[in-house]
């Protein structure tokens, strides 16, 4: 992150959201999770999932841009075949994107790796996903922890709590409460991997 004073100011200011907007609440809670994992637990974020989404969207926009320019240079009847190809490809890409977001991303907003500085322990990864239904107050947070020793077994921990636990009446996020719960499920997940072994 950059070292200017203003950036630090924004990240340190308590997060205040419109408390009746479920989107804003979910975003604030997700951001708090990311911040905890990045700053306190020193995980490095793995951007593969998000990048996949960005690439698909970018390619789709490229196709539509190409169709626009080609049609501009060669007015309609001549550009017919190119237009057909571009339109069909665009909608196929849109369906791919929808499938990607629904089945592959599945609400996961953070995937991180913990690299041990001494190099002794294997790399452990953690994937967090969350769900907050519209107009509902129950925030479901799922944490998938993989120890790194056995790539196939993941220990999964979920908490489901009302968002009222984390925000005060003015919509300000209580970061400490979020981190307490996060710490609990993270430690529980780590314990479980040890137990399973």
């Amino acid at each position: 992150m950059s070292n200017t004073v203003t950036t630090n100011d924004i990240s340190e200011k308590p997060v205040k959201v419109e408390k009746w907007e479920t989107d804003a609440l979910k975003n604030a809670l997700d951001d708090a999770c990311k911040k905890y994992f990045k700053e306190t637990l020193n995980f490095t974020e793995d951007y593969k999932l998000m990048d996949g989404r960005l690439y698909i969207s970018f390619i789709a926009c490229l196709f539509s841009g190409f169709a626009l320019i080609y049609d501009w240079l060669n007015p309609f009847p001549k550009s017919r075949s190119i237009l057909i190809i571009c339109v069909i490809t665009y909608f196929i890409l849109m369906s791919i994107l929808t499938i990607y977001m629904k089945f592959i991303e599945e609400g996961k907003f953070y995937a991180g790796k913990l690299v041990d500085k001494t190099g002794v322990d294997p790399i452990s990864c953690c994937t967090i996903s969350s769900r907050l239904k519209k107009y509902d107050d129950k925030y479901n947070l799922t944490l998938e922890y993989n120890d790194g020793t056995d790539k196939t077994t993941n220990s999964v921990q979920t908490i489901s709590k009302s968002v009222g636990n984390y925000f005060d009446e003015n919509g300000v996020l209580c970061y400490d409460r979020v981190t307490n719960d996060l710490k609990k499920i993270y430690d529980q997940a780590r314990l479980n991997t040890r137990k399973v072994k």
């Binding site: 419109e18 989107d23 990048d51 969207s57 926009c61 841009g65 169709a67 009847p77 237009l83 339109v87």
Partner: protein
Amino acid sequence: MELFSFVDDLKRMDKRQAIYQILNFGMIISTALMIWKGLMVVTGSESPIVVVLSGSMEPAFFRGDLLLLTNYQEEPIRAGDIVVFRIEGRDIPIVHRVIKVHEKDDGYVKFLTKGDNNQVDDRGLYSPGQLWLEKKDVIGRARGFLPYIGMVTILMNDHPQLKYLVLALLGFFVLIHREN
């Protein structure tokens, strides 16, 4: 101030989130564009949806009605068809009815049009020296219609600032609203 809380939200957005917001905006525009181009391909017309701009076709069409056009070359143009055409050199499309058709064996067609609500045929509207219209002037034939909806387009064209304002506001809200 409460109203500007989204500015803080913006500053908290990381780089990838910002790129996604821009791409999201691009995708909304692209979807609209691709639907329009798709319609162009399916109907065969370069402007598959037009707005009736004058009252020359009353009582069939009024100013502000929306028309869906098709331009299938295999279907012959017959007297009585409602065609939308463009005079060479002018870019405003005109919606009138075909009243006379001359057809040669090799497929060459020329026809004369007149608005239902006009007293005279369209020869006064054609280019100087032009007495007939040809297939190449036709944008399409009216196949479907939606009343009143085109008034929005007429309003936006009469007041371009309104159009830019609406587009700017829409774009602004799409870029700002963060969704997951």
